[in-house]
């Protein structure tokens, strides 16, 4: 598989994930909380592809979802970039992951990412982010993303089938 085909697959995956998130996953709410698919995409990209691809995937999906959020354009992109990169770096240097570690990391990173999003958003003047409800959102979204992580990890491996030791 050449680099172009890998990039096309990744772009298709990201676009499909964005559309599915808006049309389906955002409606599948428990306690009023929807899965955080874009954040899970960034984190799983970091776990499968390493820091650089995690950062790029996080930036791209973050920009996509920012188009539809009332918060400042670029806020999700900023946080998902950092998160994709950090998780990728941790995976490379510490976890060397078993599948179940990847699943747990996705859940924990989801909760952490939402907390950072709310705190940074409030610091940038966005209202109603850091509220009493935040911890419910973090818990439910983390549980949701724990379930979603396995298919997402599989889909990233499909997008980048021969990653180890190979530069795209």
């Amino acid at each position: 598989m050449n680099a172009t085909s890998a990039y096309i697959r990744s772009a298709l995956f990201l676009l499909t994930a964005l559309v599915l998130h808006m049309a389906l996953f955002s409606d599948l709410r428990v306690l009023g909380v929807a899965p955080e698919v874009p954040l899970a995409i960034a984190v799983t990209a970091g776990l499968v592809g390493g820091p650089e691809r995690g950062a790029i995937a996080g930036f791209a999906i973050g920009l996509g979802i920012d188009l539809y959020l009332p918060t400042l354009f670029g806020l999700s992109a900023l946080i998902y970039t950092v998160w994709g990169y950090s998780v990728g770096l941790l995976e490379e240097r510490i976890f060397r992951s078993a599948w179940w570690i990847n699943v747990l990391v996705t859940a924990a990173a989801t909760a952490g990412g939402l907390l950072i999003y709310a705190v940074l958003g409030e610091l940038l003047g966005q209202a109603n982010l850091y509220t009493d409800r935040l911890y419910v959102v973090m818990g439910v979204a983390a549980a949701y993303n724990l379930v979603l992580s396995l298919p997402l990890l599989g889909l990233w491996r499909w997008s980048w089938p021969r990653l180890l030791g190979e530069e795209l």
Binding site: V19, M22, A34, L69, A141
Partner: protein, 282 residues
């Protein structure tokens, strides 16, 4: 060596992406027009895909809402049954609630809302994230005459306002449940203009300013937009009914709890009133 090069490249990529995000944040905070136009174009490009996916997958979301919201639905059914009984009782006294409302509005000299030009829009995106419970996106925009701040209503009354400059074919509506949403109101039959604000998802509106302590207000009384000088809302749009009255003895004002008359959950179509207070004034 190769690993070192890769680490250097990934750090460079990270810095580049962070700077790009920070630039976008800054430009958006400063309402940089070319960026807004680019956002609109991208949204318009994705919109057909999203509408198609919505049509196909919408029933799945509805079914999920039916399953997970069963208790809520049951409670709502009970509430509706109670309201129906009340309405049946009311009907004995007054055969047509709409005529009654019109009569009340006429009494305080408010023009009828439907005289204002309007555009019906479909809600295309509602709550895509977990932090945007107070806004929806509709498929009508500047090409339909929509401008920032215009009131948005449904049959039940006011549900919000257009937030920010709309795109050519879409715009964002901030719902009146948003805690930062404020609207000038008056209780029908009184002259005191007061300020109502949202209290969050599913919550009532509260009136905490402007209603003097000696103004006669009763539970069940209708509350409408005041439409006072330069208000962004025309007068007479139903807001809700008073469900609780309290008094702030220190400030000598009444504190009202107002149950919104329009439901802001599961919106499908809304009407944007093409109302420009400055044009009306001139």
């Amino acid at each position: 060596m190769a690993a070192g090069t890769r680490t250097g490249r990934s750090r460079f990529t990270l810095i580049f992406l962070l700077l790009s995000s920070a630039t976008l944040l800054t430009l958006d905070a400063r309402d940089f027009e070319p960026l807004q136009r680019t956002e609109e174009t991208l949204t318009d490009l994705i919109s057909p895909l999203q509408s198609g996916a919505d049509r196909v997958l919408g029933p799945v979301g509805d079914a999920w809402a039916g399953v997970t919201g069963y208790d809520e639905l049951e409670a709502e059914n009970q509430k509706l049954r109670d309201e129906l009984q009340q309405l049946e009782g009311q009907q004995i006294l007054d055969s047509d609630a709409a005529v009654r409302l019109e009569a009340l509005l006429d009494q305080v000299g408010l023009p009828y809302v439907q005289d204002i030009p309007n555009v019906v829009g479909e809600v295309v995106t509602a709550n895509v994230g977990n932090f945007d419970r107070y806004s929806v996106q509709i498929n009508r925009g500047s090409q339909d005459g929509i401008r920032n701040g215009m009131p948005v209503v449904t049959r039940g009354g006011l549900i919000g306002r257009i937030d920010g400059d709309p795109g050519r074919g879409h715009s964002r509506v901030t719902l009146l449940t948003d805690p930062s949403f404020e609207v000038g109101v008056l209780a029908v039959g009184t002259d005191d203009v007061a300020l109502a604000s949202g209290t969050g998802h599913g919550g009532p509106l509260t009136v905490t300013k402007g209603l003097e302590i000696d103004t006669e207000v009763a539970i069940g009384q209708e509350v409408v937009t005041s439409g006072v000088d330069r208000s962004r809302y025309p007068p007479g749009i139903p807001i809700g009914t008073v469900t609780n009255i309290d008094f702030d003895e220190a400030r000598l004002v009444q504190l009202l709890t107002v149950e919104p008359s329009a439901n802001t959950d599961n919106l499908s179509f809304v009407t944007v009133l093409l109302y420009d207070p400055l044009a009306e004034e001139s």
